[in-house]
Amino acid sequence: MLSTILSFISAAIIQGIPLLYGAVGEIITEKSGNLNLGIPGIMYIGGISGIVGGFIYEHSTSSPNAALCILIPLLSCLVCSAFMALIYSFLTVTLRANQNVTGLALTTFGVGVGNFFGGSLKSFFGESGSISLLTTGNYYKTKLPFAGSLGAFGDAFLSFGFLAYLAIIIAIVASLVINKTRVGLNLRAVGENPATADAAGINVTKYKYVATCAGGAIAGLGGLYFVMDYIAGAWTNDGFGDRGWLAIAIVIFALWRPNLSVLCSFIFGGLYIICTYIPGLSSASKELIKMLPYVVTIIVLVVISARKRRENQPPAHLGLSYFREER
């Protein structure tokens, strides 16, 4: 029984990590007033760009170097995800396009690009079969050296690749920056009331661009973790599934707080796989149980809307573009 629970916790954390990246990225973005619904697409892009980077490197050398196996996919993931977010920023901040439409278009685009390259990358190199980057995947999956010696505890909490710990560190750092620093105060002001921020001498456009691009890059890491660590350097079309939308749901569930989103991600990760831990479920009831995270999100939305505590509301200017001359 205990071992089942520990393995469930470990599995929940593993499921939660991609969600956590997506959620923290989206929180940072939303704090600037940008509602980036392109996050699911950006996470696909993050995954596939890592795969492409790793694939090209593994093909270019017979003895892949560990550091480069990590760095090349990591950098291509960060650059491509941030670039997606840059497109979003340009459209919504500079051209003041509708944020929802832009975000949804980016998601459709990102999923399509991911599946296109995922399905055809090998044929570009004249090969057949599905992508498998075992070497790179294994480097990403490297555990802490002392995890094995700590028994069940080590298995449940310390047996993850480095990207899992990075996710938690990023969440905590983001939380500190947003709540405790001058930059965070300015960022929150931009999302709450850009006209006031502007009058106070804060560069609203800059904050929106930087927050959105940083948020996109962080979210992209969720896709990278999924393809490199979770499925060990492989790609299956639509394999990432609806995790991007779950990440956006976590933003609401975590009340726009990065530190809280760590816990929320693990809960959602657990809810996402709990059906496989309940014996004797029909496949129909499994699908019903998979809906739990969304049901929880709706309940949270209803509760925070009903309680109307101002601190728990989304940034006041979320989803709206700011134009100085408009009053």
């Binding site: 002001a189 009058a199 804060i202």
Partner: protein
């Protein structure tokens, strides 16, 4: 002699062909409070926006402590120690007072909100503010928010403070507190400019007063040497003749009787206080007042758009002899009672018309309930649109052009045309000639006169006293949500109305 803290010389500012400020010169010394007095649209705020770096003057110079400066952004204004407190607060609701106060400041060292709080407490103690730096803005009253705005500029080290109508949102008690604080700041050597149109405040607070009228500088007086009458005359100027035709009312009867009407907002502040008047058929009743004195609330309460907390709105139906109380009835209920009420709101493309819809569809906003089955009746609205375009000579490519593409005057003709097409018995028009050129304005005056001749009770909210005096039969003056007077437009003097308009809050004092 020591030079002035700030001095303006020959400042001129134009927006297109409109001259907002023409050759204005004034100065403020350290340790002095200057009132800037003028009606709406006299250029007070434009002038102050040039000092705070929002606009740049086309001509003229600004001197600070005797040396000429160029203030090209709000940031420059900070550097010259100028702080402006706007009428609309620029605060982030979910932040604390302290967070708002330091927002955008790049002080050296670690960000420490507790240190900020103690500095805020220091400033508060020095000038006698009462504020909790850790309180969130959304939990604050209006006067607390204003205090935060003032501390914000003091925290940035401002020596020259500009307050744009600071008392417009305050209760008399809060106003007294604010004045005490301002006097203390004056004694501390700050130079203070307050923009206002309330004469008693000018007299109570300031050392000197400069008067603007329609962008022109009228003059500066020592407050001790002047009085309300003289200031009013300077503010409203001499009467200008406009030659608007005005017929004698035909058989005026009491159409709409408003008794002790009160409207309060969510914070419990009275927007309309005990308003009593009668609108008669065949007569144009003008409503004068400083902007925001309750004109909008009054019309919306009558139209059934704003809930009334007490009082009554009695409509007399001459045909049936019945009287109906319209209080807190919806516009549809009012219509179903057979009351033909037409409303030309101030916000033409927001409340009156839908900008992206064409003229026909905008006509249908009044008639969409008619027609059989699921389809709306389109023939009548089309005919009506064509009729309005022809009769009021609306300049438009076609009846299917979105109204927002029309010019302001044509938009207004479409709106007024629709409202009078239903043969109203009461016609309310809020600022119907605002932003219109002279010809369009006269078209609107003629339309209102036509309605008057047909026995409609016309209520005309205006801002130009010359127009009110020539067009209306009687003028009701609102001041701070109260009726400060009802005068006969044929005999009233402009200064008399100006004085009534500025009587806000004095009734009880």
């Amino acid at each position: 002699m020591a030079s002035a803290a700030i001095e303006l010389r020959g400042i001129t500012k134009r927006f297109g062909s409109v001259v907002a400020n023409n050759n204005i010169s004034l100065f403020v010394n350290k340790g002095e409070i200057l009132s800037l007095l003028g009606e709406n649209g006299s250029g007070k705020t434009t002038l102050m926006n040039m000092i705070s770096g929002i606009y740049h003057p086309d001509e003229g110079e600004i001197f600070i402590n005797g040396s000429p400066v160029a203030i090209s952004s709000p940031h420059d204004a900070f550097d010259y120690k100028i702080g402006m407190i706007h009428q609309h607060f620029k605060l982030v609701d979910v932040f604390t007072a302290a967070e708002n106060i330091v927002l955008g400041l790049n002080e050296r060292g670690r960000f420490d909100i507790d240190k900020v709080s103690s500095r805020v407490a220091e400033i508060s103690a020095k000038y006698g503010f009462e504020i909790d730096p850790r309180k969130k803005i959304y939990r604050m009253s209006v006067s607390e928010k204003q205090t935060v705005e003032i501390i914000k500029v003091l925290y940035r080290g401002a020596d020259i403070l500009i307050l744009d109508e600071p008392t417009a949102v305050l209760t008399p008690q809060e106003t007294q507190k604010l004045f005490a604080v301002l006097r203390r700041m004056r004694d501390d050597g700050k130079a203070i400019i307050i923009i206002t149109h309330k004469l008693h405040e000018v007299l109570a607070l300031s050392d000197r007063v400069s008067v603007l009228r329609r962008g022109e500088y009228v003059g500066t007086l020592k407050t001790a040497d002047t009085n309300e009458m003289e200031l009013t005359e300077m503010m409203v100027g001499r009467k200008v003749s406009l030659n608007i035709s005005r017929a004698e009312p035909v058989d005026p009867k009491d159409r709409l009787v408003v008794n002790n009407l009160c409207v309060t907002n969510r914070d419990g502040v009275k927007l309309l206080d005990d308003v009593t008047f009668t609108a008669r058929s065949g007569e144009i009743l003008g409503i004068a007042g400083i902007a925001g004195s309750g004109q909008r609330e009054l019309l919306e309460a009558i139209a059934g758009l704003k809930s009334v907390s007490s009082g009554e709105l009695v409509y007399n139906d001459f045909k049936t002899g019945n009287s109906e109380n319209l209080r807190n009835k919806t516009p549809i209920q009012i219509r179903d009672l057979g009351v033909r009420l037409s409303f030309v709101p101030e916000d033409r493309l927001g409340m009156g018309l839908v900008g992206s819809m064409d003229i026909i569809d905008n006509m249908m906003l009044r008639s969409y309930r008619r027609g059989n089955g699921v389809f709306v009746e389109r023939r009548e609205p089309r005919e009506l649109a064509d009729r309005i375009i022809e009769q009021l000579s609306v300049v438009t490519p076609s009846a299917t052009t979105p109204v927002r593409r029309l010019s302001g005057g044509n938009v207004q003709k479409v709106l007024v045309g629709r409202e009078i097409s239903s043969a109203p018995t009461v016609l309310m028009a809020a600022y119907p000639v605002r932003g219109l050129d002279i010809n369009s304005s006269y078209t609107i005056y003629n339309l209102l006169n036509e309605q008057k001749a047909r026995g409609v009770a016309v209520i005309f909210v205006g801002e130009d006293l010359d127009v009110l005096l020539e067009l209306c039969d009687r003028i009701l003056v609102l001041g701070g949500g109260r009726v400060t007077g009802i005068v006969d437009a044929r005999t009233a003097k402009k200064e008399q109305i100006g004085l009534l308009m500025t009587k806000h809050g004095e009734v009880e004092q």
